[in-house]
């Protein structure tokens, strides 16, 4: 090559070698075509030699397709396994109430002031509270076993066991569950009543769901100081709708110690950051400044983490969560399903069957997405192949 530039000469050599390899490949193709024997022709291919059917590869491809389909199926189901939810209708009822529509006329005792609990309910409630206080255990009404207790820092209490004024230092996260059975045909009134109670106590409905407009569940967020009044009002509501309280759980998680601990750590870290900033201001070398900046960043990150956790706890303490289940009298309570934490042999079998059916369902849904795409890809490939063959013929 006529150049003084060595790299161009080397590139010339490299391209010549590539061209020679390509020439050999083309020659071998020609030989294969010229051979013209009866059997199927195998044209040499660049890269991987192929020809024999690779059953292992096909099996692997099938597995990949199925896993892909399963993944798409799971994603298309929103990754959740919630059962059918007609919450939309339910929300319409709740919205109608909160929006002040005509349905308010149907509400039980829609007065501005909190509805006083009936004497019967208040008596029953206070009786249960004293009984629970005596037992020192969780408060439970009806057939529902309590879920809290035993773990450190988490207590289960009757409504009256927690003083309304908790003092500045006491930080307790309160959760409640209550199940209400009401007269047949009064489900809408029940939902409207629960929503109204939440609003009157300064709270709101966080989530809701219903089944056949005859049973459903609501999650309420209520200012902590209105927790007791809300629980009482919910109990009273069951009486107004000719029903009763099926179960009630109240739990309290004392986070005072964590609060104090986090506050102390926050103070220490803030002091440390100030100290580091003072040292950085007097640093004389760039390496020292950079090293201190990294330390300050680290401390700042820790401070932000603690502040985030404190804010979360404050939010949880400020607002209690109440889960309300409402059902008409002749609707069976939903089967809670097998115990997934400590399943029996029968439960394990049931869980396994459910899991298998879910996977099959997800794969079927995923294939529903993939098959049309595959057909389109096949069509495109077919057209391209035809165009290529026509071009080859023309050349």
């Amino acid at each position: 090559m006529n150049t003084e530039i060595r790299s161009l000469q080397l590139l010339d050599d490299d391209l010549q070698a590539v061209a020679a390899r390509e020439r050999d490949r083309l020659a071998s193709i020609d030989r294969a075509l010229d051979a013209g024997s009866g059997g199927p022709r195998r044209l040499p291919r660049r890269g991987r030699g192929g020809g024999n059917r690779n059953w292992g590869g096909m099996a692997a491809a099938l597995v990949v397709v199925l896993v892909l389909a399963g993944g798409i199926g799971v994603l298309s189901q929103g990754g959740g396994d919630d059962s059918a939810d007609s919450g939309g209708q339910f929300r319409e009822v709740a919205d109608a109430v909160s929006g002040g529509g005509g349905s308010q006329a149907e509400l039980p005792a829609p007065t501005a002031a909190p509805p006083p609990a009936t004497d019967r309910d208040r008596a029953a409630f206070e009786a249960n509270t004293s009984e629970e206080a005596a037992l020192g255990a969780q408060y439970s009404v009806g057939d529902q076993a309590g879920t809290a207790g035993g773990s450190s820092g988490r207590t289960s209490q009757g409504i009256g066991a927690v003083p309304a004024d908790q003092g500045d230092l006491t930080k307790i996260i309160r959760d409640g569950r209550i199940g209400i059975v009401i007269a047949d045909g009064s489900f809408s009134k029940g939902v409207a009543g629960v929503t109204q109670i939440a609003r009157r106590n300064g709270g709101f409905v966080l989530e809701s769901s219903s089944r056949d407009e005859r049973s459903g569940a609501l999650t309420l967020r209520i200012p902590a100081k209105r927790f007791d009044d809300t629980m009482l009002a919910l109990r009273a509501l069951s009486g107004q709708l000719e029903g009763e309280v099926e179960f009630q759980d109240i739990t309290g998680q004392d986070v005072t110690a964590e609060f104090i601990d986090l506050g102390a750590r926050l103070d220490i870290l803030q002091d440390r950051r100030e100290l580091l900033r003072d040292i950085q201001a007097e640093a004389t070398s760039s390496s020292e400044i950079l090293r201190l900046a990294a330390l300050i960043d680290d401390v700042t990150l820790q401070i932000e983490n603690i502040q985030g956790r404190l804010n979360f706890l404050k939010d949880q303490v400020a607002e209690a969560t109440i889960k309300v289940e409402v059902r008409e009298r002749d609707v069976q309570r939903e089967d809670p399903g097998p115990d997934t934490e400590n399943p029996s042999i029968a439960d394990s079998f049931e869980l396994a069957v459910q899991g298998f059916l879910r996977i099959v369902g997800a794969i079927v849904i995923g294939l529903g997405y993939l098959i049309p795409l595959g057909v389109i890809a096949l069509l495109v490939w077919g057209v391209l192949t035809l165009v290529r063959r026509r071009d080859r013929g023309a050349n």
């Binding site: 080397l10 391209l15 083309l26």
Partner: protein
């Protein structure tokens, strides 16, 4: 004496006669290297882009269609595409060379000055002097001695108290950075008319 084939004929012939491509390469390699050198200012980058462009052209020569445009315009189309990718990413990939099994070679030391000779720094000298301020002190000093003052690498190395190879690297990296910077500012690096 057989009539010399045109670039287009060579490209078409290279589908079944791969050696025809090497003839096309020999005709245009130095021009393409100059094309890249004047735009990237960096000998290493220019050499890499040249190799990658020819490798890609060889690998995709079957896709060339004679539609009345000279074959070399097709080659420069690939070059422009490669150059654009370099200016976007700041690096030259070697996918086409790897595909063909070609080695990735370091630039021979004697090529730095030879490829720089292909670059006409005159029209960009003023812009370079301004952009120099954005470089590290080592690169800036090496660039100033080599490009502004026009010293040879031996003298640059002597002034900077480093090896010649080290001086070449500093200049090369500085030029690459400057080319990317000037490209970002939309400045024309060369007055050459594109092929």
């Amino acid at each position: 004496v057989p009539e010399e084939r045109t670039d287009t004929q060579l490209l078409i012939a290279s589908r079944t006669e791969p050696e025809a491509f090497t003839e096309l390469y020999r005709r245009h390699a130095e021009d393409l290297l100059r094309y890249f050198a004047r735009r990237t200012l960096d000998p290493e980058t220019a050499a890499e882009l040249t190799a990658e462009t020819f490798a890609e052209a060889f690998a995709s020569r079957a896709t060339y269609r004679d539609q009345g445009v000279n074959g070399v315009a097709w080659l420069y189309g690939i070059a422009r595409h490669r150059l654009g990718r370099f200016f976007r990413s700041g690096r030259v990939d070697a996918a086409a060379r790897r595909k063909l099994g070609m080695p990735e070679r370091d630039l021979p030391s004697e090529d730095y000055e030879r490829i720089e000779d292909l670059i006409d720094f005159t029209p960009i000298r003023e812009a370079l002097a301004e952009a120099l301020e954005t470089l590290s002190p080592d690169q800036r000093e090496a660039m100033r001695l080599r490009v502004i003052d026009g010293l040879g690498y031996a003298e640059v190395a002597e002034r900077l108290e480093c090896t010649e190879q080290n001086a070449r690297q500093r200049v090369s990296r500085g030029l690459k950075k400057l080319a990317l910077l000037l490209q970002e500012r939309g400045m024309q690096l060369t007055t050459e008319v594109e092929a």
